[in-house]
């Protein structure tokens, strides 16, 4: 293998896909920056504060998790716990079977992608339909999302129109308005037929037990207006301490994710519907999912658990913009994914150990992060871990000779003196693939080694 897996995947990306991913991530990022800096005197202070709130929450989960459980139960919700993906899937299946339910409508949740819930339920003969437009298209194409917020950023309208035609949703028409209208028409009856609505949670307040959900399309709202049973799938790290912390986080989430002051639907759900309300779930289940999160909490990368899944780091990342999401081979792509995905692999960490290396450590992800996660630091910690675990790193130039030289002053001096020879060596012919790839587009500057030592010696006199 000549390159890291992420490089191999992204090398196969079609040019127009790369161009459209680049364009739309760049424009969302630019709008985000303008919005935050036009409106707030000190948006960076807000990000730091949000980071402090979330860091406090994850470092006190031992207090907050039992607290939120008690609140939810008092509000009339049933609380379940799932240590693994299998256990989470089994819990959902049991809730559905106990109700005799066969049809579920799903709003977008990253945890459900993580545990592959829809496939699991289908294998057990149950219908689990995605209702977010992007996720719906991913589902009919048997594809994977390539962006946390924009699942089909890698698809164009022609591909989507072809899929709709294939699924019998009308004759080929690639107008985005028509595509949306057709999905609207098809899905609204699905909500009304379904017995169970499943959503994720953007935040859970430990103070009140409120589940906060944000969407733009209104699909999660439809799940909660049409079905009789609401299942919430939520990672244990989604807790925030108090309701008042929500306004800081909500102010940042919409602006960071989609460059909106606020997403269209922001729902605060603390239990089943009121008895006087004719629409909505009479039964509410909240499933707290671990699936590797406690191991992340125990690691030196626990800051990544602050993440509120806004996608801002994907939009700004020069690597994501070139590689697109599938190159990360994970539910979570981009800079956040480069940290989180290898960690969630547990003992299969080496399979994703290339991801933390797919970064120039430029620091842009940290600068845009609404909860101020020091992603570059975490990437370095994971690179270290890969080295310590002796994970092979194809395409990385061998550093042994350099290490030997740098630790022996005599060898170093000799190399400096001999370095002049490099001016005459045809670099393209050195049989190291990484070096050849480098030299393919560049030339070495003229050797200037030893100048500093000369200068220092003279200065001492």
């Amino acid at each position: 293998m000549r390159f890291q897996p992420i490089d191999q995947y992204s090398a196969g990306l079609k040019a127009d896909t790369r161009a459209s991913v680049y364009q739309s991530t760049k424009s969302t990022h630019e709008k985000r920056t303008k919005l935050l800096f036009d409106q707030f005197a000190d948006p960076d202070r807000l990000r730091e504060l949000a980071g402090e709130i979330k860091q406090h929450a994850i470092e006190n989960l031992d207090t907050y998790l039992p607290q939120v459980e008690a609140r939810l139960k008092a509000n009339g919700a049933q609380v379940h716990w799932a240590g693994t993906a299998e256990s989470a899937c089994a819990t959902v299946l049991k809730i559905m079977r106990d109700r005799g339910a066969t049809k579920m409508v799903k709003a977008k949740t990253m945890v459900s992608e993580e545990i592959e819930l829809a496939h699991f339920l289908e294998q057990h003969g149950l219908e689990a339909l995605e209702t977010d437009l992007g996720e719906f298209i991913v589902q009919i194409d048997d594809d994977h999302p390539s962006h946390i917020v924009r699942p089909i950023i890698h698809k164009n309208r022609r591909e989507i129109a072809t899929s709709f035609e294939r699924e019998g949703l009308g004759a080929y028409n690639d107008d985005p308005g028509t595509i949306t209208r057709r999905a609207r028409h098809f899905l609204r009856h699905k909500y009304l037929e379904a017995d169970v609505g499943l959503t994720g949670a953007n935040f859970v307040s430990a103070e009140s037990g409120r589940i906060v959900l944000v969407t733009n399309e209104g699909n999660s709202r439809f799940c909660l207006a049409a079905t009789k049973c609401h299942i919430v799938l939520v990672g244990i790290e989604k807790i925030v301490p108090r309701d008042c912390d929500l306004s800081i986080l909500l102010n940042l989430l919409g602006r960071s994710g989609t460059a909106q002051d606020l997403t269209v639907y922001t729902e605060f759900i603390s239990g089943p519907k009121a008895p006087t309300q004719p629409d909505g779930p009479e039964e509410m289940h909240v499933i707290f999912v671990d699936n590797g999160r406690t191991e992340v909490l125990a690691s030196d990368c626990r800051e990544i658990l602050r993440c509120i899944r806004c996608g801002a780091c994907l939009n700004v990342c020069p690597v994501y913009r070139q590689a697109s999401g599938h190159a990360y081979r994970s539910v979570y792509p981009g800079p956040v994914g480069a940290v989180l995905s290898p960690l969630l692999m547990k003992d299969k960490f080496p399979q994703k150990a290339d991801l933390p290396k797919a970064s120039s450590l430029c620091g842009a992800c940290n600068e845009v992060c609404p909860v101020n996660i020091p992603i570059p630091d975490l990437l370095l910690r994971l690179r270290n871990r890969a080295k310590e675990e002796n994970v092979p790193s194809p395409g990385t130039p061998p550093m042994g000779a350099w290490a030997l030289m740098a630790s022996q002053p005599t060898a170093w001096k000799a190399a400096l003196a001999g370095g002049k020879l490099l001016d005459y060596v045809p670099t393209k012919l050195i049989p190291v693939p990484a070096l050849q790839a480098w030299a393919d587009k560049r030339a070495l500057p003229t050797w200037r080694g030893g100048e500093f030592r000369k200068w220092l010696r003279q200065r001492a006199k």
Binding site: S20, S24, S27, T28, Q39, R45, L46, E52, Q55, H56, L61, D62, L65, N75, W81, G83, S87, T91, T131, G134, R150, P151, R157, P176, T180, R181, R184, R188, Y191, L192, S208, N216, E217, G218, R221, F222, L224, A225, A226, I236, P241, D243, C244, S247, N251, L252, Q260, D261, V264, Y265, T266, E267, P272, K273, A274, Q277, G280, D290, T294, L297
Partner: protein, 203 residues
């Protein structure tokens, strides 16, 4: 599952035990994220109308104007909260078919839905709905046009205030503009699953 609960909580305790100190809960001015400059000295109903326009929603202060808007759009069949209809009916006049009962078997028959809002947020152009005030969740969602009747006195200036006033209702939803998506090539389309037209009638 019960075993999972103990296992997760003990793993959490185990993960946190080695921490010498835990990050403190930051104390901060609750108004930090409030857009003061925008709000200062403004009439909240006016600001709400202005901010709703920004998110491509509409605000009216007269029922007759809403009726006219609906008629112009060809939306003449709809639902109205039974408690609101007696006051609104005189402004609508002939040419409208309005039901005060929402039949979920015929969701596509309703071109508009009129429901009562629990409040609004001026800063963001947001309508607040909840289970107590809003007669039907579906009627505020399924029709193409949603009209929320907002009482002037219930308009909050900003998100921070609105969060503080969430209250005991188990289901509060903030609606900021029409339902929308940019999933297909980043092109903004309004009216995905919810209303394509969002209106506040401020009374």
């Amino acid at each position: 599952m019960t075993d999972d609960r103990e296992a997760i909580l003990s793993r959490v305790r185990g993960a946190l035990a080695p921490l010498r100190e835990r990050a403190p809960l930051p104390q901060y001015d609750a108004d930090m994220a409030v857009l003061r400059k925008m709000i200062a000295g403004r009439d909240l109903a006016e600001l709400l109308a202005e901010r709703m326009k920004r998110v491509s929603a509409h605000a009216y202060t007269s029922a007759a104007a809403v009726a006219e808007f609906l008629k112009a759009g060809g939306w003449t069949r709809g639902y109205c909260d039974p408690a609101l209809w007696p006051q609104l009916a005189p402004h609508f006049g002939a040419g409208f078919t309005v039901e005060t009962d929402f039949d979920r078997k015929r969701v596509d028959d309703y071109a508009f839905g009129i429901t009562r809002a629990a409040g609004a947020v001026a800063e963001s152009g947001t309508i607040v709905l909840n289970d107590a005030a809003t007669s039907r969740r579906l009627a505020a969602l399924a029709p193409w046009v949603h009209i929320a009747v907002v009482e002037r006195a219930t308009i909050f200036s900003d998100l921070t205030q609105a969060v503080a006033a969430l209250g005991p209702d188990r289901n509060v939803v903030w609606v900021t503009g029409p339902s929308k998506t940019a999933d297909v090539e980043g092109i903004l389309i309004e009216g995905v699953h919810g209303p394509g037209v969002q209106i506040a009638l401020i009374v």
